[in-house]
């Protein structure tokens, strides 16, 4: 545990340099998205009828979903370039591995750092949601760890993949064919019930679907009405996160041993 903290310390030291710009953009991104989509587009959605959204304004519906989806995007980015870069470009993980720090600590330390970063992003996002008046339940506080868990379900497996890469070429494919479709079709912008019946069950396979449902349930306070379903979402995300973390340890170790 103490050893793992040294890896986190290193990442934090690196982060200090971009801290201000990073905080600014984590405010800006939800603000832009929520005003454009939630407020702007929401005006038309709310005018037609809000029955499909269960009586919610579009902004209220969208905001928690977008929270989970944005954290997923950040998680994906944090677990691609920085992981491969440290193994291939700067090789700083090899330098760490030459010290008493073990491959497992390097992998888990980086995941711990990613979780910290995601927490910062989720907090800022939640503040923006609250400021826009789209938080309808105090349970929204719990949407922060829910969103982080969603992100971590992506960070582990993607970090494991990144550890096998020598160039960033395939990262574009991950974003284009993985992250973006999930972002669009996991219930973030519209309920998955609106998808064609044949495709709808597929949404269940998307970790983001579980993350969005969980985050939304907490932000809107509806989670208390269906605790079992929420628990299942947490369970699914936790299992993926743990499997991903194990895979990341194995792959990063393999890469460090190979040199």
């Amino acid at each position: 545990m103490a050893v793992l903290a040294r890896v986190v310390e290193h990442r934090a030291l690196q982060y200090r340099r971009t801290f201000r710009a990073s905080i600014f953009s984590s405010f800006l991104s939800p603000l832009l998205f929520l005003t454009a989509m939630g407020v702007g587009l929401g005006l038309y959605v709310d005018r037609s009828s809000n029955e499909a959204l269960g009586g919610l304004s579009y902004l209220e519906f969208l905001a928690p979903g977008l929270l989970a989806a944005s954290v997923m995007q950040a998680a994906s980015f944090e677990s691609t370039f920085p992981i491969m870069g440290g193994l291939v470009w700067s090789r700083i993980y090899h330098a760490m591995y030459a010290s008493p720090i073990d491959a497992r600590d390097i992998a888990l330390g980086n995941l711990a750092w990613i979780a910290l970063r995601l927490t910062m992003i989720a907090i800022v996002f939640t503040l923006v949601i609250t400021a826009l008046g789209a938080a309808s339940s105090p349970l929204i506080v719990l949407a922060i760890p829910a969103a982080v868990l969603t992100g971590m379900a992506f960070a582990g497996p993607i970090a494991a993949f990144s550890a096998t890469q020598r160039t960033p070429e395939k990262f574009a494919a991950i974003f284009r064919f993985g992250i973006t479709p999930l972002f669009l079709f996991s219930g973030t912008f519209f309920p998955v019930e609106n998808l064609p019946d044949a495709i709808e069950p597929l949404a269940w396979l998307s970790p983001l679907y579980h993350g969005v449902a969980l985050t939304r349930g907490l932000a809107l306070g509806t989670a208390v009405d269906q605790p079992i379903v929420m628990l299942i979402h947490v369970l699914v995300l936790s299992v993926i996160t743990m499997a991903g973390a194990i895979a990341a340890v194995v792959m990063i170790r393999r890469r460090l041993v190979r040199g």
Partner: protein
């Protein structure tokens, strides 16, 4: 030099590393004594780096016995690494941090307190002659400065054993000499140095004892002087003839020296008295364009043992 796991800092017997069907290191045996400067010499692909990575406890041995500080790398990797200082072939500095931050954070990996890291970092900046660049980012540093920083970083835990993989490759002569001088100082302080190199002058400058590796095995072992005595003569007389003449000389040099080596552009005569051979050649009526009499070097040993064929 025979040794035991208890008396040697590094003790290897039948040490082997295979990658699939490729054998990178084939049953090598060696001992490194405390305080010694020990070198692995060999052409590219001889297995030097693979051996170093096994000693550095980052790559497990496929077979054989390896003990470092009388510990088994397979079970005590982190404990051994805590007492090693590693200078890898490729720089692994963090370009996102400053020179000093690179040192401080590396000390943290070894569990040193922040205050202790700061104290040692300032001391090492002095040692590496980088004090003026302490707050500079790493990226714009010259190759020599980066190497010095890497060496300083490897010293942050006050290691018992330093592992240097081709420490001066790619540096200009000034940077190399400065580095040698710093490494020599470490040796004087009692730090054990293990290095790989394919520069003969580097090996002669730094190593008390070395092994020559070729094609995954150790082909010779000894001090630089011993190796020269054993595998070369005292002198070498180099004769260079006008274009086309060398090919017509057949037999005319016979018996002039202990060993004669024909290169495309000159003839090397290995002998204990180079001057006498040069005179004798003249007396036989030979008219070389240029004559060079020199002492044998480790390079002659190296080329004799590992051949002149380019390894790629």
């Amino acid at each position: 030099m025979p040794g035991t796991p208890e008396t040697s800092l590094i003790h290897a017997r039948g040490l082997t590393k295979r990658f699939g069907s490729f054998t990178a290191v084939d049953a090598v045996e060696f001992d490194v004594a405390p305080g010694e400067a020990f070198g692995f010499l060999g052409p590219n692909g001889a297995g030097k780096t693979s051996t170093m990575r096994m000693i550095g406890c980052v790559s497990p041995a496929t077979d054989g016995l390896l003990r470092i500080l009388n510990l088994d790398p397979a079970t005590h990797g982190p404990q051994i690494r805590a007492r090693l200082g590693v200078v890898p072939q490729q720089d692994t500095l963090d370009n996102e941090l400053t020179v000093r931050e690179n040192l401080v954070i590396y000390g943290r990996y070894f569990g040193l307190s922040r205050a202790e890291c700061a104290r040692r970092a300032d001391e090492l900046l002095e040692f590496a002659q980088l004090t003026e660049r302490r707050n500079s980012p790493v990226e714009p540093l010259s190759g020599g400065m980066k190497r010095r920083l890497t060496i300083a970083r490897a010293l942050i835990n006050e290691p018992t054993l330093m592992l240097l993989d081709e420490p001066t490759t790619g540096l200009d002569p000034q940077a190399r000499h400065l580095l040698w001088e710093r490494l020599y100082r470490l040796k004087q302080r009692g730090t054990t140095l293990v290095l790989t190199t394919h520069y003969m002058d580097e090996a002669e400058q730094l190593c008390d004892r070395l092994v020559v590796m070729d094609k995954a095995t150790i082909v010779a072992e000894g001090s630089p002087r011993q190796l020269i005595d054993r595998y070369a003569t005292r002198d070498v007389t180099e004769l260079r003839f006008p274009v086309g003449v060398q090919e017509t000389l057949d037999g005319q040099l016979d018996g002039l020296a202990e060993r004669i080596e024909w290169l495309p552009d000159r003839v090397l005569l290995y002998t204990d008295d180079g001057e006498a051979v040069a005179v004798a050649a003249h007396e036989r009526g030979l008219q070389p364009e240029a004559v060079l009499v020199r002492r044998s070097t480790l390079e002659d040993v190296f080329l004799r043992l590992t051949g002149r064929t380019l390894v790629e």
